[in-house]
Symmetry: C2
Subunit: 145 residues, 2 copies
């Protein structure tokens, strides 16, 4: 198989994923939440409870900046910090009820877009889709390295 052609296909594919992700999320009102803050909330939503260091590592934001943004978010009542029982240096973070509601709305919006895109798909096509994502995530887009 032609690896160069496969690479070109992968570039086009990645571009499409980014493009479609943008289109599926752009018309959700962030209010006064900045894109970076939204990314943090999204990460907390799927991984909570998390420490500040985890947010810093996973979202590639320096600790001082992570601390700053997270302070803003807690001040706005979207998430809560609580001490780790084992290590008094650590702080865990989770979404507050307001934060949960916000993220539920965000994910709900995304899911709506998602369903629209797949509205006309047959059962068989959905199975194919799931299988295709499985294949890709097991190989090209695995995060083990």
């Amino acid at each position: 198989m032609d690896r160069k052609a496969l690479f070109d296909q992968a570039v086009a594919f990645i571009t499409s994923v980014h493009q479609v992700t943008y289109e599926m999320t752009k018309d959700f009102a962030l209010g006064d939440i900045t894109p970076v803050q939204y990314g943090i909330l999204e990460y907390i939503a799927v991984a909570q409870p998390v420490t500040l260091s985890q947010v810093s590592d996973c979202k590639h934001i320096s600790m001082p900046n992570t601390s700053r943004e997270l302070k803003k978010l807690t001040d706005r009542g979207l998430c809560e910090k609580f001490d780790a029982p084992d290590d008094k240096r650590k702080q865990y973070i989770r979404l507050s009820p307001d934060g949960q509601a916000f993220m539920n709305a965000a994910f709900g919006h995304m899911e709506g877009q998602f369903r629209m895109r797949l509205a006309t798909a047959t059962e068989e096509q959905l199975e194919q889709l799931s299988a295709a994502m499985g294949v890709l995530q097991a190989s090209l887009f695995s995060e083990k390295s």
Copy 2:
């Protein structure tokens, strides 16, 4: 098929794609080119020649800001503007030789990462991969809407 589960899988998948894309590109030296500027160059590379308006539309940057960033890039000798023969209002943009060299290096780096990830894959797996990307791009990540 459970659509909610499929949605969750899609969210995880999209996250992985973004994550891996970041990891494949992060250690390429941008020099004094900013991320937004890099995105513009990448777009020009695959779509050249393009007008300013096209860049603005596709990269979701307002015309004034597109004009500003493109001016910086042409000043640095990475791309060139030339008048459209048919419409004197339009300006086409293409990469300069330096810009081409830069983007060749960038794509070369990405391709290296890409090959590393697929180094142990069998011929059959590569075929599967290509097919999987085809399936996804034809359904979930099509950009027709």
